[in-house]
């Protein structure tokens, strides 16, 4: 396992991937805390897992498909009822295509 160096640059990179605009004081704090947590996690390295399969989900070896049938769902009004901004019967978002 590569010992990851959790510094400001890495925290800012990960925050960008996670769509989090951290304030400056948070960056240093998270770099310190995540560094400690990741160092702890690296103890998993002591285990030889080369022949061990990964478990993504414990009981999903036969996930069933349900029939593709139309069923009642939320109304248009219900679906929009909790939106912070609504326009023309849709979710309003800032412009993202010029």
């Amino acid at each position: 396992m590569p010992a990851a160096q959790i510094d400001r640059t890495l925290v800012l990179h990960v925050a960008k991937l996670a769509s989090l605009s951290l304030v400056d004081s948070e960056v240093d704090r998270f770099a310190h805390e995540l560094g400690r947590i990741v160092a702890y996690v690296e103890q998993l390295d002591a285990l030889d897992t080369s022949d061990v399969p990964a478990t993504a989900h414990v009981r999903l070896d036969r996930a069933p498909w349900r029939p593709d049938e139309a069923r009642p769902g939320l109304t248009h009004e219900e679906a929009l009822s909790q939106a912070p901004a609504v326009e023309s019967e849709g979710f309003a978002v800032p412009l993202f295509v010029e």
């Binding site: 396992m1 590569p2 990851a4 959790i6 890495l10 925290v11 990179h13 990960v14 925050a15 991937l17 996670a18 769509s19 989090l20 605009s21 951290l22 304030v23 948070e26 998270f30 805390e33 995540l34 400690r36 947590i37 990741v38 702890y40 996690v41 690296e42 103890q43 998993l44 390295d45 285990l47 897992t49 061990v52 399969p53 990964a54 478990t55 993504a56 989900h57 414990v58 009981r59 999903l60 996930a63 069933p64 349900r66 939320l74 219900e78 679906a79 009822s81 909790q82 939106a83 912070p84 901004a85 979710f91 978002v93 800032p94 412009l95 993202f96």
Partner: protein, 521 residues
Amino acid sequence: MPIESSVLDIAGRVQRGEMSAAQATLEALGRIAALDGPIHGFLYVAGDRALADARAVDRRRARGEVLGALAGVPVAIKDAICTRGLPTTAGSKILAGYVPPYDATVVARLRRADAIVIGKTNMDEFAMGSSNENSAFGPAKNPWDLARAPGGSSGGSAAVVAARMAPCALGSDTGGSIRQPAAMTGTVGIKPTYGRVSRYGLIAFASSLDQIGPLSTDVRGAARVLGVVSGHDPCDSTSLDVPVGAFEAACDRSIRGLRIGVPKEYLAEGLDPEIKASVCSAIDDLQREGCVVKTVTLPHTQYAVGSYYVVATAEASSNLARFDGVRYGLRTSGDTRDLRAMYGATRDTGFGAEVKRRILLGTFVLSSGYYDAYYLKAQKVRTLIARDFADAFREVDVICSPTSPTAAFRLGEKVDDPLAMYLGDIFTLPASLAGLPAMSIPCAPTATGLPVGLQLVARALDEETMLAIAAAWESRSPARGMVPPQVAAQMAACSATRVPLDARSAPPVVPTDSNRPSRMS
């Protein structure tokens, strides 16, 4: 309603017409008004809506209809579980004011069984925490000592049940979030087998681990609630299509000859000696009742915290991507012409520190260059932990241990040390990673009178054997019937001055607190 009104007691009396559902609801609302101010177990009290629901149940009985298994039973719901028309925040500022347009499957099933949804309970934000201190609305307190944490993340549900404001509640458990608060508050809490209970309508934290389950004042009450909320649900693709167990009947089964495994790794150094003595004494007692006690080994236990905090945060970082200020919840605009800036500002303002920490960790372990080394590695270790249990369950029927290495700790004690907080979950995480059913029941109290939890873990889908042992232990536990002293005193004072309740009277005033989300009714 006497001080100790269990789920079965209330349901039986309402079904027989000895008490109305409205009376049971008013009693609960009265207790909430009297007790919840300092405890802060509720984020929202349903008040008028609960009373209207109760009167509807009473009208059905008056028409001669047979009432359901939870007739008139007040149930508190963890605020991570969607309730149509009642605010649901998951303890987060990003969802303050959110009112779901649908009921979670478990809530719909409770209502079908004629239970009364009395309110929404406090929790660590998005169920991330072990102390309730990560609630954006201020923590719930432990009714046994208001300076101590009720545990987390379902700490509000546990506090509410411990203080007898409701005989039962729903919580959710990802790495111990039902069992650990149950242990810290002297209540019974069950995490069912993964897939036993539908997750539809549960605000997701880590989808391969999350499971909804009951907390109750007693084992049979928890068993009944579990029976009501269990069962296949086409709305959750991980819901198992298996018969609902005979959970209540299992509480009367003989435990003679059942084999109890005691994992040697769980009773190792670092465990509070008082907790160890309390748990060992319970195990000795079960042996005297005819159980066979064996030492077992779960050799990968020490890797559970590392594996869990990679797997769970990876899933959380993906699940919480949906909170972006578009379809529901908070939006912090900043520059309204920039979509990505709106996402970033909304999430930075809306999420608390622990949620951001876990999103960052989860995003990191899934990121290019680190995925195999951390995420894949943690999933492989998860397999080893599951194999540990499979091996142990070849020799024993139930595994018995402490639920938590300490009794309730003081608020503020661990809040600045996230890693120390994570390490406290060592006994509950392994069963979560393996998807096994597990529960916490009150053991003997500590010398200072704080509750201690005894954890039982069973084979997948064998909640019944676990419940048989839990019920047998409960009937002889030194913690049996213990109520927090201040709660007992308050209730004794209430009973002394109580006037006969009229179900048609106005609902009691519920406490208000500017620190809480607005109340609807």
